[in-house]
Symmetry: D2
Subunit: 315 residues, 4 copies
């Protein structure tokens, strides 16, 4: 699908939706519906389904479709939905993406190939092959900590100019490169929407020219990001920064688990906090990912309490 005016716009606050699970590891559709409804009600401008925060790599395509159907259904066209098609290479990504588009995804986001050893030329052809085979706008996801290669600025702007990709989610942790991508995109007539995945520097990245943010932490509280983004849009940088600093104290929850894996720690902290706030019914992690211990959960609750984010007991 080529870039047209009818393509859905992903800008502002576009949280990656977490995946609530029942104790047996199956999908908790009730909690997922509650989460999605809450995110949209808090004012987010789009939903990023089946991303890393959604533990998407741990689910089969049948489960991914099941998850996406609930997200799309509860959202009820209030905001646009983009879905991650995380797979090894173009032929496999196309299979997954087509199923997600059938299930209601309005755009697809994917990474460079996994497992393979490719050149930049081959990575460009990878995105071209996918874009040509699916009937939805394609976005590029730059997450070197997982993919182990970085998408270059020239590559991204070239693919944008060709209409192959419509935007980039940047989780590269490289602010110099992201700033240069913004400038190169501007110089090319802004073919790309540019979202940062780093939830603790949104004010700074907004000042630098980002179009939006994909904050995993918004699963715990989205309204702060909405306020931050509104302030930034109006040039009220002091308010934006103040909100960011409050949010960053909340982000300290991800540093409470000790000795666990990256996936157990980050998503685990989000789920523990969501559970403490009553947003989801269980903090169960995807299969094989270790659970937080009680001490970590307790420290996470203390941070929520300090920020007045624990639910008030009714009675």
């Amino acid at each position: 699908m080529s870039a047209t005016s009818s393509a859905p716009v992903f800008a502002g606050v576009v949280p990656p939706v977490a995946t609530p699970l029942l104790d047996d590891g199956s999908i908790d559709h009730v909690s997922l519906a509650r989460l999605v409804d809450r995110l949209v009600s808090e004012g987010v401008s789009g939903l990023f389904a089946l991303g890393s925060t959604g533990e998407t790599a741990y689910f089969t395509d049948d489960q991914r479709v099941e998850l996406l159907r609930t997200i799309v259904s509860v959202n009820a066209d209030r905001v646009p939905v983009i879905a991650g098609a995380i797979e090894l290479t173009a032929p496999r990504i196309i299979e997954t993406a087509r199923r997600l588009i059938d299930a209601g995804a309005q755009a697809i986001v994917t990474t460079a190939p996994l497992y393979t050893l490719n050149s930049a030329t081959e990575v460009a052809d990878h995105f071209r092959t996918i874009a040509a085979a699916i009937d939805a706008p394609l976005w590029a996801y730059d997450v070197p900590v997982r993919v182990h290669s970085k998408l270059g600025i020239d590559l991204l702007v070239q693919l944008g100019t060709e209409g192959v990709i419509h935007g980039v989610k940047d989780s590269s942790g490289d602010d110099v490169s992201f700033r240069r991508l913004i400038a190169a995109n501007d110089a090319a007539g802004r073919p790309l929407q540019l979202l940062t995945g780093h939830e603790v520097v949104v004010d700074a990245m907004a000042l630098a020219g980002a179009d939006g943010v994909v904050p995993g932490l918004a699963n715990v509280e989205a309204v702060g990001y909405v306020r931050l983004w509104e302030a930034a849009k109006t040039g009220d940088w002091v308010t934006a920064r103040t909100e960011q600093e409050r949010i960053n104290r909340l982000f300290d929850i991800v540093f409470q688990p000790k000795g666990l894996s990256g996936d157990a720690t980050g998503v685990g902290a989000f789920k523990a906090a969501m559970h403490a706030r009553g947003i989801i019914d269980h903090a169960t992690m995807a299969n094989t990912v270790q659970a937080l211990d009680a001490d970590a959960v307790s420290r996470i609750r203390a941070i929520l309490d300090e920020l007045h984010l624990l639910p008030v007991a009714v009675g």
Copy 2:
């Protein structure tokens, strides 16, 4: 499936079968049949289907099944067949592995999770989950250049002792670690078969105690590896080394392509040489992988010619 005396043995020369393709990128079953028959005829002791040399990451599961069926059919039970189930995580690997077992794979080999960020504990559970869900012996594939993490010695020996895995294909390029794995496996009563993936040091790794080798280069010529391995088994290390050194001159084909990706270079050189030798009808690479240029192919032919490995013209 627990380790039992009925599990197929993979030892000696177990080449990873390359995937011949027609010019349009579809599977060239005629060339594949010729290749498999040649490998078995040259005396290999097993076949490793759907590995990295087989470009397996670039194929859908339907294509993988199609490939495996031809390999299994042509092999006709002459040697055991192990198949790679390369996917992101346990639930997805299990789906792929079951289809491959149905298609005739006698064992399954897979890696640590891809894309995710896991601890050693989680990686161990990953292998346990897969082994418990499939009806064939499981092997571990250690290839950090693609998976971006290394399987630890303690982890592997523990999983072997539990009967979770039956063997390891080591493509880590870390000879110190491999030597220590051999010693640790010996100390544990040899629960694991240990194969090296490094085709240029087979004599040395045989001396060190490896049980076999998975040489991609055997797609070009397998008989040299068979001779090398026979010599090593009888303690004739001078002959083993001499054969290795001849093979290593052949391996120089992979250094002839310039400026291409890792996948284009290595498998590309194998395919160019196989094509020059008449083993496959086309040197076509998997979709998005770049082709070698004529100069590289010419240099590869020159090496084959020097080693008397080009076919004699009939007339």
Copy 3:
């Protein structure tokens, strides 16, 4: 030396001084004097002598002392001078640092050990050992691309709280970590001054709370950074961003050399531009570092010309 109110303050724009060389590779003191005088005249608030931009690793301690003496002499106490003592480990750093302090350095900055394989505990002791042995405030320099390890937030704040280090130059390229360091430093009562080494995101890092910047590009033009920083200090973020964007166009000079090393490219572009602007008499690089080709120099001149930064011919 413990942190006291008499310690020199390094904040705002603190450029790393480049090292002009004669054609034979010896130090060009005339150009160096011109450069230092220009930097101070343009309004910088401190000088960072003998850093990476100054090619310090390529010089002997005798040469380093010689360089520093000219910098200190020309500066004539107008702004404070901090000097890099880049060496392998504490005992060697102390030797170098003492010579630099004797030559006029008012503070010393150094990295974690080089070449060795140390734990965080050992790195902390490394800084403690150095601080105890020298008679000047110590700063930590975090530059993982050169040191191949990252200084942790807890480590830095702990060393700040102990009075071991007075500040950090962060060239880690990790904006998430830098933002968290700012917050942790605030929470600890601000024992550290925090400077970013990334010249293209100064507006954003100022918004985030950085105390200053160490911009290599200021060797080419410092006045833009001074304007940027003044605007940021007064909360005029739009002006700060506009100036940053103009500066970032200038930074494109570092992407003009092709196929050279990191050191040849970055410092080489700075020196070529400084030479084109008449700030230094030769663009000679340190011994063994390759020179730019004429095409790269020409492209660099074109960028300077576009930004009206070339000198007007007199006549």
Copy 4:
């Protein structure tokens, strides 16, 4: 110095000499003399002074000279001595190397530049610059875990052919690359001596064509390596392997410390074992490197005991 027939030959077992320290961290010349005499008496064919096992990075040049003088004096020309000049770049390495040559080093070994960001062309010029400035044969030391870059095969053979370097100590842990270096060196007429730094695969590397080994573990026991090498030279690979396997059980001492840095662990285990065997009087580590705990020392003693390597009490 160009390669001539008068250059000292380093082949066979060339241990890197550890640095015994008194409790106050100063050099323990008595223990050092005992160690050197023991190594030479056990039959080693050369001494590698001031390498990583010697903790050379932690010492000033004055200390390095002091250490080397004792080694040279005790050795008394029985075997050739090569010394590491580990510093940042050519100008600094030359200063150190000249002092070491004056103190009796018969050859110098160094790495690619540290801290800097160089191309292969620049690294080649680095070695050329050093070789031209010193009056002793130069060797290259390839240790990516410390230098964070790998010396390429083409580079090394080119420098060998030019007479710039006389040999290579390979601690790259990349057996495929080392095997290819051996072949490339053979094809070029063997300008280089090739030593492996990996003490647990000496039998295999000898079979592959290595000229010798630099085993840190020989500080604990050298005679096993001497026996191993003698067996390999006579083609008795079964004896070589048997000796290697005994040695590798001894090498398990380096896996007994838990949670310490790389330097604390490896050299720490060697020193603890040397101390237990009575070879050195104190197990003191270089400044800032953490000491082993009593449990680790106890486990190390148990391994020595099992292998009958503890001294017999006299009474």
